[in-house]
Amino acid sequence: MTSNRILPMSRAISEAIAQEMRTDPSVFVMGEDIGAYGGIFGATSGLLDEFGDGRVRDTPISETGFIGAGVGAAMSGMRPIVELMFVDFFGVCMDSIYNLAAKNTYFSGGNYKVPMVIMTATGGGYSDAGQHSQTLHGTFAHLPGMKVVAPSNAYDAKGLMATAIRDDSPVMFMFHKGLQGLAWMASPDGAATVVPEDTYAIPFGQAKVVREGKDATIVTLSMMVHHALDAAEALAKEGIEAEVIDLRTIVPLDRDTILKSVAKTGRLIVVDEDYKSFGLTGEIIATVAEHDPTCLKSAPRRLAVPDVPIPYSRVMEQFVLPNAKTIADSVRASVKGA
């Protein structure tokens, strides 16, 4: 079946969930406002109508409780998808995630599976301030036992969600609010894509070179892919060809694709919407340096939130977030020396 149907990312996600729910009765969804509301960021829209409130369960505001319940259900043969409305709320339920969901397989020597997706909204840019705008990529990637996914567009989101639901281990599925294509929040053009109607699965651990280039490698993910592509376009006009890598999954991390690209370009710029220190950007740079620091023609660079809480005021928030201009500046400096 061919189709040129363009879907926003939120619909791609809910479609993936619906398709898995149709074929596998053990798949169900729990979370706050995921029923009639369809998820605050639309990731579960339409599911209640099709599957009813037995399999699409609005929960109390009890994240420890319902995520922990997800683990118990997963260990009892179900495949729950639970939504943590904003990733920023992880603090009230991290024990259920990192100490329970992520460790029970290990604690059972592999005898228990915990096939569970924890789906959560990330990211800022719309003045939702310091408790509703974080991405926390590094926080989740640092702790063992969870896979961590962060798609940049609808096509990837659908295929990665299918993989997440079928995976027998816990998966953090981190979707950026600003990519969901909601009627009430701005979204970059590239986030909504052609999405095949059939189910398909995108394997974890395969980064995607979303633009080829020979002069510098930009490694990034989620919302920042779009800013990186805009930067690359601007740079191309100046004769600088930047390669852009969309990680797609953080755990597992596709180190090979990064190393291959940097071996070619000799320059590395890492862009992340998470806090700068002790997180994703450092890991990528360290990966390259550990492999071979001599492959770098200039010092690697990184752009990320400069270790401050996300400020509310628009001018301040925009200042702390990487954007096409700051990315282009950084690539330029890397290529020309600065």
Binding site: D88, Q131, M185, Y312, S313, M316
Partner: protein, 327 residues
């Protein structure tokens, strides 16, 4: 029964809070049409308005002193107003301006004002344990100041709330927990989230008084809060007060409210608590029509002034984002 000045104070505070929310609702839409974009306009980001919930603010805060601490929720304006947060700085903060309480770093869900002993938060039930800590501080310092923690009906199912209740009860701390029960946690009704009809019964699990105030009744709440505050000041420990209140707006501005039964808001508005207080006070002679009108006019003027101040205030420097991370 409140004194005349208390009634007048409550009435004025409630009108101020109401007019504040209605004004904010309009200002919030500036720059968001024809296409609603949450990040656009004069006031970007989420916006949770408390119109209809004014009794919870006025009926409790009327008993408080400046040295009493209050922690409020993600829906904080009415309580901030009742606790005496500087209205200009608060509005400037919501406008993201340099003159705001936090110079624009915090925004609508993060209004913190040491001068008024007020804070709030965007995380459900997060304010309950800091209120316990504020009460512990006053106890350790030997003053009779109290702390009030506000939370929603939805928040009553968050584990941290129960930890705070137990701690406050165990240590007999001067805390008043006020549940603003508007029947909803976003789109999920209280019935679908809470295993008991009234959260006030949960007080028994901590051996403390639990009071249920029906029908958003300012005067009944006044009495209950008076006793709770007095009890706290006497060193007899915490009280849980649950107030059946009304949410006129959606959960946040832009909420499609498709989950909401038709006619619910109209039915609530027919029982508007501000009007009820005004009518009752005028009827029983506590307040004259003229006094009420004057209070309303003062309230509106103050709000208008605050919005004018916020509008005229200056944008923060972008680099200011990097300061005030540490004390």
């Amino acid at each position: 029964m409140p004194s005349k000045s208390q009634v007048l104070w409550m009435y004025e505070v409630m009108e101020k809070a109401r007019y504040y929310e209605d004004t904010m609702a309009a200002v919030y839409m500036e720059g968001k049409s024809p296409k609603f974009d949450i990040g656009a306009g004069t006031v970007p980001g989420e916006m949770h308005l408390a119109a209809g919930q004014e009794p919870c603010a006025a009926g409790v805060c009327v008993h408080l002193r400046p040295d009493d601490a209050v922690t409020a929720t993600h829906r904080p304006h009415h309580v901030a107003i009742a606790k005496g947060v500087d209205l200009k700085k608060m509005t400037a903060e919501i406008f993201g301006k340099a003159e705001g309480l936090a110079g624009g770093r915090g925004g609508h869900m993060h209004l913190l004002d040491p001068a008024a002993n007020f804070s709030c938060s965007g995380i459900i039930a997060q304010g309950t344990s800091p209120a316990v800590g504020a009460a512990l501080a006053t106890k350790m310092k030997g003053t009779d100041a109290v702390a009030v923690a506000y939370l929603g009906d939805g928040a009553a199912n968050q584990g941290g709330f129960h930890e705070a209740l137990n701690l406050a009860a165990l240590w007999k701390l001067p805390v008043i927990f006020v549940i603003e029960d508007n029947g909803w946690g976003i789109s999920v009704s209280k019935e679908k989230s809470t295993s008991v009809p009234d959260n006030s019964v949960r007080a028994a699990g901590y051996g403390i008084p639990g009071v249920h105030i029906a029908e958003n009744d300012t005067l009944k709440l006044f009495d209950a809060a008076k006793e709770a505050v007095a009890r706290a000041r006497r060193g007899e420990g915490p009280t849980l007060i649950e107030v059946e209140t009304y949410r006129y707006y959606g959960h946040f501005q832009g909420d499609p409210e498709t989950y909401r039964p038709k006619g619910e808001v109209a039915a609530l508005k027919a029982k508007d608590p501000i009007k009820r207080l005004r009518d009752a006070a005028i009827a029983d002679g506590t307040m004259t029509e003229a006094e009420a009108d004057a209070a309303l006019a003062r309230a509106k003027a103050e709000v208008d002034e605050a919005f004018a101040f916020a509008r005229a205030a200056t944008e923060p420097a972008p680099e200011d984002a990097l300061t005030a991370v540490f004390a």
